[in-house]
């Protein structure tokens, strides 16, 4: 199984440029997730890799083979579509074996392979059914099965879980993760759901307007987002952004805003030299707030009880912030509590370029 490289990939629709100069490397056997809001070009990128969309410029290398001008069937890949794309006139067994039948594999081998895969996906009882006679989750598994029987080098997933209800989605996500551990192939997965991206990906590629904002492991993206967009996109509940100023007083550098001042660790002083006394954007994850005396006094506007955690909506410097706390005793709206934020847990962004400082 070879690595996959996208080199200076470009896609235009007529005069409209949707992807410009996209470069990305995916290691052998890596589970890569392309994630971003609608219209960020993630699906287009995947479809170009699949060969369903023509490439305007650049190369798609699978191993040392440039496949960008090849037909989909010459690229050795299998794909799971968002709407499953099952063949409505074929039963489950025929759907799963279609590619093998086209490849003229012998009948007994096909049957054996389909039965094997059907067993792993719990589909044995449904092999004679047509797609319309299956539930959404079963159809999803058939789509997965159709890809799995092929034993292709690369598996592509185009938002495969987005048509399922929340509970089933969680279940399938876990099954997918198990499957990818088991078969260890190149997997490229497109989603707009950052939870899916975080839980499934070895590597996450965050995209916006046809550009890669950041690519890295889930931890890298969560701990050190390269810019404000990635910081806001990864993590749930979403990171809070506040406007502040970097002020040095008595040798301590702090991010100071209306009604708050968060001292920053000395280690960051040097790198922030150029931004002293300038406006910056401050990013604080809801989980970075901890309740305790001597912190910022914050009014609780709304309290969302989730279970072990509660999300509190509050206000800081006239801006709305959410705070995630462990539910010890219920906190009610209308109360006022004190929260502290550690200086090494805040993220700083340049207000113009939005790059992390």
């Amino acid at each position: 199984m070879p690595e996959i490289r996208l080199q200076q990939l470009r896609k235009d629709y007529g005069a409209v440029n949707v992807i410009e100069n996209l470069n990305l490397e995916m290691a052998d056997g890596e589970f890569t997730v392309l994630v971003g809001p609608s219209g960020c070009g993630k699906s287009t990128t995947l479809r170009m890799i699949a060969g369903l969309e023509s490439v305007t410029g650049g190369q798609i290398m699978i191993g040392d083979r440039d496949v960008s001008q090849l037909e989909p069937k010459e690229r050795d890949l299998a794909m799971v579509f968002q709407d499953y794309a099952l063949y409505p006139h074929m039963n489950v067994a025929k759907n799963m074996s279609f590619a093998l039948r086209l490849a003229r594999m012998n009948k007994s081998d096909i049957e054996k392979r389909v039965k094997e895969v059907a067993a792993t996906l719990d589909l044995t009882a449904y092999l004679d059914r047509k797609p319309a006679e299956l539930s959404g989750g079963q159809r999803q598994r058939v789509a997965m099965g159709r890809a799995l029987v092929r034993d292709a080098g690369t598996f592509l997933f185009d938002e495969p879980l987005s048509n399922l209800d929340a509970k089933l989605r969680g279940q399938m996500r876990a099954e997918l993760a198990l499957m990818s551990q088991r078969i260890k192939k190149n997997m490229i997965y497109v989603t707009h759901d950052q939870v899916e991206a975080m839980t499934l990906g070895d590597k996450i590629v965050v995209m916006k307007f046809g550009e890669i904002m950041q690519a890295g492991t889930p931890e890298e993206l969560y701990r050190s987002p390269a810019n404000k967009f990635v910081a806001g996109f990864i993590g749930s509940p979403t990171m809070n952004f506040l406007t502040a100023e970097l002020v040095e007083e008595g040798g301590v550098l702090s991010a100071t805003g209306q009604g708050f001042a968060i001292p920053l660790p000395d280690a960051r002083k040097a790198s922030l030299q150029a931004h002293h006394d300038r406006t910056i954007h401050l990013g604080i994850r809801p989980s970075s707030f901890s309740e305790g005396p001597g912190g910022l006094k914050m009014p609780i506007i709304l309290s969302e009880y989730i279970g072990a955690q509660s999300v509190l909506i509050s206000e800081l410097g006239g801006q709305r912030v959410s705070i995630e706390v462990n539910t010890v005793a219920p906190i009610r709206a209308g109360e006022e509590r004190e929260f502290t934020v550690q200086g090494d847990e805040v993220h700083l962004f340049d207000p113009k370029t939005e790059a992390a400082l």
């Binding site: 579509f81 409505p88 490849a103 319309a132």
Partner: protein, 304 residues
Amino acid sequence: MSIARTNRLTPYLFLAPAGLVLLFALFYPICYMIYASFLDWNPSQRIGEADFVGIRNYTKLFSDPAFRESMWVTLKFAAVVVTLEMIIGVGLALLLDRNIRGMSVLRTLFILPMMIAPIVVGLMWRYMYHPTVGIFNKTLKSWGFDPIPWLSDGNWAFASVIIADVWQWTPFIFILSLAALQSLPSSAIEASKIDGATGWQQIIYIKLPLMLPVLIVTLLLRLIDSFKVLEVVLVMTNGGPGLSTEIMSLRINRTASEFRELGEAAAMSNLLLIVLLILTFTMFIYNKAQDARAARLRAVEEEA
């Protein structure tokens, strides 16, 4: 009368005018025709003066070689034109189902023949088939070939009417097939590409099977129409030479106006009607079966 009951009757009230029109415009003529088919009736007589002859008109028809020939010509005509039209129409749709510049103009051009009145189509083709000044023979002559007796030889005449009908009605199948093609789930076709299907394999294993419900209805509609064709053949050959192109509706026309046998003509019309009713019922049953299947699938889906 309770309000609920009045409400239930309301739809029938609204349907009544249409029902009345149907009664006079459809059932009355049919009954009249069925009754007339049992009479020995001459156009100079009033219907009351005609003699009742029982089923003699029908028995006579089956022993009449001219009628049997006409029946055979009609079946042959319907089978050949519908087959050709289906193959060419579906083929064209498969060819033109793509986004190339100017395709919308092409598509419009393709469906023009269907919009021309059949009489005009007949006249047009008669001029083109003209033995000396027609475009076909003139072209053949200029290339140094012998002229073809388009309408004066029995076999050629049959082929000529078929060509004209195919020219006029292939677009009907073309637009319905194209609509069917364009409503196919694009992701299923993409999935087949990923699965390794070539262009032909996509057509044979995915596109045609998925288009089948539309194709069957289209085929039946065309079949029904081709049994009733009259004007084009009337204008081009009037059934000749000999009986080579005398399709049923022409035979009926001639029996009534030329041979002045209204009873016999009515009997023939009834036979044609029975054939058409069988076809219509086939279509009806097919549609019902499709609906029932869809309903069953929906029920399964809701259960799941």
